[in-house]
């Protein structure tokens, strides 16, 4: 990282660290100051906002700030960041709107028991989102991407005592977190196939990704991440369900940040992945469907927060569709709309929260006449709604004009997209005024008592956003120069000049805007009938991706239950058989694979008669153990094979082993006889032959495997370096003449000490086992071994 220049770079880590530091401090501050802590906590995003704001001029001139350090050099992974037009505008949105949201949260959550941890989650999310939009290294970006999924899980499920909130949280985590894993696959694919490991490298690579034979795979994986995060059909379900979260969460996550992450990724990747047939087909197709269906569902909803959620889905569809068109004007339109949407949607969500706060309902049918009681909120609402409706002079108007400019070509492709855009926009126009106007005008329904304005922190945020939507449009020259133009340039890959202003010109785009507005007004008037119409037709269909999610999750639980039942049957003999099969396969398989089977040995001639006797004794003992009908026979037979083993040791020059074996074998038989007589158990096998036969076959195979293995080893040349060493130095170093003893107590004394430790621990464990008394009723009272 050698391009460390400029003011922003020096403070880059500080800006990124501020939300995290504030997150750590939040619970403590909140304990002392209650909800007033947000006045202090909001300083963190504000400071970060100001730091980023300092960089605006340099970035507008085309400077790209980069900073970071090498993180995992062996994998070429860096912890690095990049600030250009696109990431700067996103960083400003995240921190700027974040400041207003933290203040708003302070007003909204006042008196809540867990508000401290709420602020922590919000600030953590903010830091994650900030890291995501300024990350340069792909892995760094992925980590922040997943962090947003995790923190949003905490936020959506904040009200965790309600099942709906838990469901919303899990759904969001499964969909966006799963999408994150798809993105990870995409990131790894890019790194593996092209060697590009950072956004900077990708942006400088020209056509490298487009020309890659793996282009389609990379694109689909990246889209998998973007579409899930940005709630494209059919992955949109998590977004409306996330409305279970407290309103500040919705206002923040579902306007400017979380859901825009996917759009950010698409804009980011556009210069490297865009402008291909595949790109221009998949994106508009998904985007258009999402736009129209989302907008219809928005009008259907009766809860104004849900209405807003679906308009967000629709807006994301519009953005994806535009990015899919891939032309310069389309990217400009997307950029302008993205900023405008962040402003008006965050504002309207906060308004919805204020309405809920003031009137204690969000049902549109039971809202009205609030304007007189909540004048400031009403003002903020109407400003935001006008921007959302695309009325001049608001930045929403600039966006809409640019969008129609991008689509005014007489090809079937553009016309199809244009129709979707007009339909969606008209529906969203209606939705804007359903939320921004309807609750405030007309007669006040009977159910609402004492509607009231919230505190300063409640109306301040939406009002600022509404006013800024207008101011930015009025001073559009400066707005384009500093924000939208650098952003669009970064997303398009070439410098882009934007000159769209708030003063309408009489051209096709303006005509289309007027048409949209007229359609919107018409739809607004018929919205109650439209609502019931869409609702009844959806009821007739009866199935949707949301229900599908439930089915999927239930299916998953059932499936894993079945699999667990098979893999972990709870039957010891199954586990044992599986183990034996694995042992046989591993031994015979590896010998077969390495071609290491032993040669056929000659029949041994040098075996003495007494050795035959001992071996015979061993086999007889073994056979008797298996077929013994009563327990005493089994124990005695076990003793026979043990003593035979000891005799083998004795005959082969290992007297120490033989003595130990004799002793251990005697003890084993005695203990076994003591216990067995108490247990009154038959050691014989009562199973029918057809059950014994598979076990016997497997047993023969195991014996064969071990036999062949041993033969192979013995047929190899013998390396006696170690034995030579012990023989030579046993006396010289350790002054002992019994070499085996010397090895045990001198050369490997630590090992022997460990062995003694094992024996001691076993003894203690046995003692404990014997002394334990079974507590609780309903079980047989057991006499312990020592008493009997």
């Amino acid at each position: 990282m050698d391009e460390l220049t400029g003011f922003v770079t020096e403070f880059g880590y500080v800006a990124l660290g501020l939300p995290f530091v504030a997150a750590v401090l939040a619970p403590l501050l909140t304990r002392v100051l209650k909800s007033h802590s947000t006045w202090i906590l909001a300083l963190a995003p504000l400071a970060a906002f100001l730091i980023f704001l300092q960089g605006v001029f340099e970035v507008a001139d085309g400077t790209v700030h980069r900073w970071g350090f090498s993180w995992i050099p062996s994998f070429d992974i860096a912890f690095s960041f990049r600030l250009d037009g696109l990431s700067l505008v996103f960083a400003l949105l995240v921190t700027g709107i974040g400041t207003l949201i933290i203040l708003y949260a302070g007003g909204y959550m006042k008196g809540h028991r867990d508000q401290g941890s709420f602020y922590t989650f919000m600030l953590l999310f903010m830091g994650a989102m900030l890291g995501l939009v300024i990350a340069d290294d792909l892995i760094t970006m992925f980590i922040f991407w997943e962090l947003t999924s995790i923190t949003s899980f905490l936020l959506i499920g904040f009200d965790h005592t309600r099942e709906k909130a838990r469901r919303g949280a899990i759904q969001a985590l499964v969909i966006t977190g799963g999408g994150g894993l798809i993105l990870l696959a995409g990131v790894i694919a890019i790194r593996e196939f092209t060697g590009l490991n950072s956004l900077t490298a990708i942006l400088e690579s020209g056509d490298a990704l487009r020309d890659s034979p793996y282009y389609a795979m990379i694109l689909i994986l990246i889209l998998g991440g973007a579409f899930t995060k940005s709630a494209q059909m059919p992955f949109h379900v998590w977004l409306p369900n996330a409305m279970e979260a407290p309103t500040p969460v919705s206002a923040y996550l579902h306007s400017a940040t979380m859901v825009k992450a996917g759009v950010y990724l698409l804009l980011r990747m556009h210069p490297a992945l865009g402008d291909t047939t595949l790109w221009m087909t998949i994106l508009p197709a998904f985007g258009a469907v999402t736009l129209v269906v989302g907008a219809l569902l928005a009008v259907r909803a009766s809860d104004i927060k849900i209405t807003l959620a679906y308009t967000t889905v629709a807006s994301l569809g519009l953005l994806v569709m535009l990015i899919g068109v891939s032309s310069e004007t389309a990217i400009v339109g997307a950029t302008l709309y993205l900023i405008a949407h962040a402003f008006f949607k965050a504002g309207l969500f906060m308004v919805a929260g204020s309405v809920d706060h003031g009137a204690h309902t969000r049902e549109i049918d039971r809202l009205g006449g609030l304007g007189r009681h909540m004048p400031l909120t009403f003002l903020a609402a109407i400003l935001c709604a006008l921007s959302m409706g695309g009325v001049t002079p608001f930045i929403g108007f600039l966006a809409k004009e640019e969008i129609y400019h991008a689509l005014e070509y007489p090809t079937a492709y553009h016309i199809a997209i244009l129709v979707a855009a007009i339909a969606g926009n008209a529906l969203m126009f209606a939705a804007a005024f359903i939320v921004g106007l309807q609750p405030f005008v007309g007669p006040k329904p009977a159910g609402i008592e004492h509607p009231h304005e919230g505190g300063l922190r409640i109306w301040f945020g939406p009002l600022v956003l509404g006013v800024m939507s207008c101011v930015a449009a009025l001073y559009y020259g400066l707005y384009h120069e500093l924000f939208s133009s650098p952003m669009a340039s970064a997303a398009y890959g070439e410098p882009v000049a934007i000159d769209i202003g708030w003063i309408p010109h009489l051209n096709l785009a303006f005509a289309l805007s007027c048409l949209t507005a007229l359609l919107g007004i018409g739809l607004y008037i018929v919205s109650p009938r439209l609502r019931s119409g869409i609702a009844s037709s959806l009821d007739a269909i009866g199935w949707g991706p949301d229900r599908g999610f439930d089915q999927l999750m239930r299916g998953l639980v059932r499936f894993s239950f079945k699999v667990t039942g098979i893999v972990q049957s709870g039957r010891l003999d199954y586990y044992m058989t599986t183990t034996v099969v694995a042992v046989v396969a591993a031994m015979l398989g590896s010998m077969w694979w390495a071609g290491a089977f032993p040669t056929v040995p000659a029949y041994p001639t040098n075996i003495h008669f007494h050795e035959y006797i001992v071996l015979g004794l061993l086999l007889v003992g073994l056979g008797a153990v298996v077929v013994a009908k009563n327990r005493l026979t089994a124990i005695v037979s076990l003793g026979i094979q043990g003593f035979a083993t000891a005799l083998i040791f004795l005959l082969q020059g290992a007297p120490d082993l033989a003595y130990t074996q004799f002793m251990v074998e005697t003890l084993s038989v005695v203990i076994l006889a003591l216990v067995m007589t108490k247990l009154k158990l038959s050691p014989s096998d009562h199973r029918p032959l057809r059950e014994k036969l598979p076990d016997a076959t497997l047993a023969v195979l195991v014996g064969l495997a071990f036999g062949l293995f041993l033969l192979t080893v013995v047929q190899r040349p013998f390396d006696d370096t170690l034995s030579q060493f012990f023989e030579r130095y046993s006396y010289a170093i350790a002054h002992g003449k019994n070499i085996v003893n010397v090895i045990l107590v001198d050369f490997r004394s630590i090992d022997t000490m460990g062995e003694i430790g094992v024996v001691m621990v076993t003894g203690l464990a046995i003692l404990a086992l014997i002394r334990i008394r079974i507590a609780g009723s309903g079980r047989r009272e057991v006499k312990s071994l020592e008493q009997s």
């Binding site: 058989t577 040098n606 153990v625 083993t645 082969q652 130990t660 158990l681 041993l710 046995i766 057991v782």
Partner: protein
């Protein structure tokens, strides 16, 4: 002798695993004892059976002159025998306690850790 012992060891393995695959804890215990013998003999055979002279240094010398049997596997097996015995003793007491508590030595009926009638886990959120 190596060859004959290898054959005997293979039989030991067969019998040990056959007993281990049984459903009765007692038979499995017998299998454990036989398995430890099989493993010990394997280690022993791996050190080669060249001579029957024990690995001792004659009292008037500081290194052995005549060939002696390999001391290293003997040291390893000596440790192994003792460990195997501890293992066996522990398993025996464990099965004894299990039998007292559950009144069975049939592994099919020992389902405390993994009960049979578990039913589906909760399907909600």
């Amino acid at each position: 002798m190596e060859l004959a012992l290898t054959f005997a060891t293979a039989v030991l393995y067969s019998i040990a695993f056959y007993l281990l695959m049984s459903k009765h804890i007692i038979r499995m215990l017998l299998g454990v004892v036989i398995l430890s013998n099989a493993v010990n003999l394997s280690i022993f055979i791996n050190g080669r059976l060249t001579t029957i002279a024990p690995p001792l240094i004659p009292s008037d010398l500081s290194v052995p002159v005549d060939p002696i049997s390999n001391p290293l596997p003997q040291a390893l097996v000596l440790t192994a025998i003792v460990i195997a015995f501890s293992f066996f003793a522990f398993l025996l007491v464990l099965s004894y306690r299990a039998y007292q508590d559950l009144n069975t030595d049939d592994t099919d009926e020992m389902r405390v850790a993994e009960p049979k009638e578990e039913g589906l886990p909760p399907l909600g959120y």
